[in-house]
Symmetry: C2
Subunit: 559 residues, 2 copies
């Protein structure tokens, strides 16, 4: 089955089953589905509700070391493991995030797994899919337009245009929109003010979509969103502007989970797509819970390294959803650890066990961190064909000496078959009794206390400082009594610290919080650190520039 075909070639060669057959594996009928073509479907409210009466399956969380330009393959491993569980006789359902067009056209290309462990149809999933991203964009920007319109039409709520919190979004990497001035052009064009755009995945609407129980909860949460301060310094919520109903109408289909299949016809719920660096990084609770209700094993992933996605999965998603993983798989690659050990990307081909040993510090820190949440941990070594036997042996031995089981995963080349070793370890570890939920911090602690705990215990830093503006924002939130919520840290994904250059397992660093904002709809507080940006830019040669489509609709360059 080994092949060097590209992801899109493999995708196009795969024989897909009608999505109705995939749904049947989950106990869903044709009536439970809203078809989007033959291979994609949304699952109705009624079906989601009916399934709630079923027993919960086990939950496996897939996370990773800090990403490097070498690539880790976390989504690929998630898909591969779901396929492997099926081969081992367990009914597995994957619950994953939807890709954003920003990275698709930026550096990364597609985000639907790879090789023989993909979710399909990958072209659709990587492009407009079932329109959820666009619905989030529209709902977000309807609220933004309503704010400026309210001010323009008399400003009954006395919104302070200097202190509008709500930002417009686009699902695009567009750095020119990071800092803007809107409302110029005189009396017919509203009141001028400074503004910013974010990428759609950073919208609080996306967070709300991923944390809501149902459409009613979604609407309630959207009405609760804080959009601005008034001239007296009070907070103004979206509900006051009267558009929460219209926003919910825009989200009525987006809240229904999407069903697709993997290259081996395993069901995959792909729903919601916040980034883990500038948002909370986990797919929707609705999809994860449905995967648990329809599978013996639900397998989900959290974005970027375990310092970001997994920490937020544990401290935000699990806290709100009342769930806890039965096992955590940390994806690591020889190549990534070599980069964490100081090797340049151009030198990765050469065997270098010393670098693996040095770079292991990054993996070790993530293992240690996951143990703090009191869950069984497995390392999934995603093999690349350039990895040498000595390097793999070195990494496996390092894991063993650290007291953690590790398995090698060949899911890229071999699909589910390549995931047997890791899947078997996971199954064995999940046989033990389930431990109670154990978050890292108490949500009732102050914002600085929560941040300090995350920085010192998860990131391995020595302290956190709040810049002047951020410190003032903390004081304000305390005065409003809005600080007793989980914290969602916006931070570079490349390092455990807030400095992208510090690879491996840095120590002694101080994390700088430059902005603090409350998400009263999502129910968390965002602390922006370092120089993280909520609107990415395109690289010198964007992935978009290699893409094309022929007269028959065949796509090239999307991978």
């Amino acid at each position: 089955m080994t092949t060097m075909a590209s992801d899109i070639e493999i995708a196009q060669q795969t024989a897909l089953k009608p999505i109705t057959e995939i749904a049947a594996q989950m106990g869903l009928t044709e009536d439970d589905l809203e078809l989007y073509g033959k291979y994609k479907a949304k699952i109705s409210f009624a079906a989601v509700k009916r399934m709630q009466q079923h027993e919960n399956g086990k939950l496996v969380l897939v996370t990773a070391v800090n990403p490097t330009p070498a690539g880790e393959g976390k989504s690929m491993t998630t898909v591969g493991l779901a396929q492997a569980f099926n081969l081992l006789g367990k009914k597995a359902v994957a619950a994953m995030r939807e890709p954003s067009l920003g990275p698709v056209f930026g550096i990364k290309g597609g985000a639907a797994g790879g090789g023989h462990s993909q979710i399909l149809p990958m072209e659709d999933i990587n492009l407009h899919f079932t329109g959820d991203m666009h619905a989030v964009t529209a709902a977000n920007n309807l609220l933004a337009a309503a704010i400026d319109n309210h001010v323009h039409q008399g400003n009954e709520l006395r919104i302070d245009v200097r202190r509008v919190i709500w930002k417009r979004v686009l699902d695009m990497n567009d750095r020119a929109l990071r800092h803007t001035v809107v409302g110029m052009g005189g009396k017919t064009c509203g009141f001028p003010r400074e503004d910013r755009f974010m990428i759609t995945v950073a919208s609080e609407i996306m967070a709300v979509l991923c944390l809501a129980d149902d459409l009613t909860d979604l609407k309630r949460r959207m009405a609760n969103i804080t959009v601005a301060y008034d001239l007296d310094g009070n907070l103004v919520t979206a509900g006051r502007l009267g558009v929460a109903g219209a926003m919910a109408i825009l989200m009525k289909d987006a809240i229904k989970p999407n069903l697709v299949q993997t290259t081996e016809n395993t069901p995959a719920l792909v729903h919601g797509g916040p980034f883990a660096n500038i948002a909370h990084g986990c797919n929707s609770v609705i999809a994860t819970k449905l995967a648990m209700k329809t599978g013996d094993i639900a397998i989900t992933e959290a974005g970027f390294g375990a310092d970001l996605g997994a920490e937020k999965f544990m401290d935000i998603t699990c806290r709100f959803a009342g769930i806890k993983p039965d096992a955590v798989v940390i994806v690591a690659t020889v190549r990534a650890l070599k980069m964490h050990g100081g090797v340049k990307k151009t030198d990765l081909q050469a065997e270098n066990t010393d670098a693996v040993k040095k770079g292991f510090a990054n993996l070790a820190k993530h293992i240690e961190n996951m143990r703090k949440f009191d869950v069984p941990v497995v390392v999934g070594i995603n093999r690349f064909h350039t990895d040498t036997a000595a390097e793999i042996a070195c990494l496996t031995a390092l894991c063993r000496s650290y007291g953690v089981e590790a398995g090698v995963n060949d899911c890229w080349a071999e699909g589910g078959e390549g995931g047997r070793e890791v899947a078997e370890i996971v199954l064995r570890l999940m046989e033990g009794p389930k431990t109670p939920y154990k978050p890292l911090y108490d949500a009732e602690a102050s914002i600085p206390e929560k941040m300090k705990k995350i920085v010192t215990e998860i990131y391995g830093g020595k302290d956190v400082i709040f810049e002047t503006k951020a410190a003032r924002q903390v004081k304000e939130l305390e005065a409003f009594g809005l600080d007793k919520m989980p914290v969602c840290v916006a931070k570079t994904q490349y390092s455990l610290s807030d400095n992208a250059e510090l690879l491996g397992a840095p120590e002694g660093f101080v994390v700088t919080v430059k902005d603090v904002r409350v998400c009263t709809g999502a129910g968390f507080i965002v602390c922006e650190t370092g120089n993280i940006m909520t609107m990415p830019g395109l690289p010198k040669v964007p992935a978009a520039n290699r893409m094309d489509i022929d007269e028959n609709g065949n796509i090239t360059g999307l991978f």
Copy 2:
């Protein structure tokens, strides 16, 4: 069948047929469709191509008097007539535009017909539908991001940031985005420049979608789009930025026509949605041609009054597509003519035949205009329950004395049955021999000549003046040899003139052109007149504020 139920109530009570059955009426099989739920489908490239071998049916264009706040019901009439033709034993297929979210949440509410003459499912059509609008937005904004990124990454093409023509778009009424500054924030955020956002329907991508023959033509046209001047004053096209392939990928599904059905299960192709005031106002050529290939009669509509949509249908769409309507129906209402005759909206209830007589001047001008294109003309009087018998009789007599046949249309209350009278007149008039295509102007004429012809012959004005900037733009386009294309006038829809206050049939006015830009992808030149804006604003109480959705997904307030 008469009822005072709201549009959405009627829509929700209608028994829809599976879209596969509707497709079968058109000679399309299940394999020709990409289903979006049970009641919406896209039609495959292969099916569109196969149908091209069929004979053409007749083509009926529905247009109207200048719209007033009283409402005219042009889309409703289009749907009703399609249903009426079916009752008369003719296989009719409607070809219509997709609504934009801007008006849906702004003043207008939905745009899918009304009463017992709607296209369904109206909630979906009025919201995200099959995602075409969002695809246009994404393709438009990918190009915009590529422009600013190119400048940021070294600006090899020497793009002049003072002269970027391409604008970002959102499918939203958002006046604060009419005039903006982007690229602020220092070195990491690009080069600052003035910018504007338009509403998506005004994007040249939308025009290109509606004028393209197929995906290859779409890609070629998108590559031809002019995006900016360089520092030497040369034009820069989208193709130079290398993203036309990626833009085409984003549009790969949007270019496939959408099939839905009417309240009486008549097929309706709903595809593409440019406004007729700030764009060319006609649905896609692909859909109109497919309607002609699959129906004995294709019935299409052009936006707003006949001065805008119908003129552009004749001079732009028909010219490029090589088609010509066999008949034109001009929709008029007693209420609208009374307003054109000077009656205020609050006084419309009172019988006023004098005002009907006075306001008839507006209808008469549109009749005269349509005759210039050498097509049979019918007036469709859309009856409101407040119209008196005397008013209807007065209007009918006025039409007769003007030498045009008029029929009364009750399609709102009675569906197709209410359209019999108008449909019968149309059928009779179409029995005559087809006349050759006769546009208003020669595309080879200069821009001022073409504008003067439109202003004097269609609008009834005495002259056109180009403001300093517009005159300079004309000179530039002449120097580039890019002035030999049809003209797409951006003008208020409320008046035959460029002043929204001048109702009826004003004379002696001068139209002011303030901006001229070339659309080398679409193949026309946009002349913006008066104070028309390409980004609408929300009213004091937007339609969004009356909308809501309950826990079962039932929508209220969308009509």
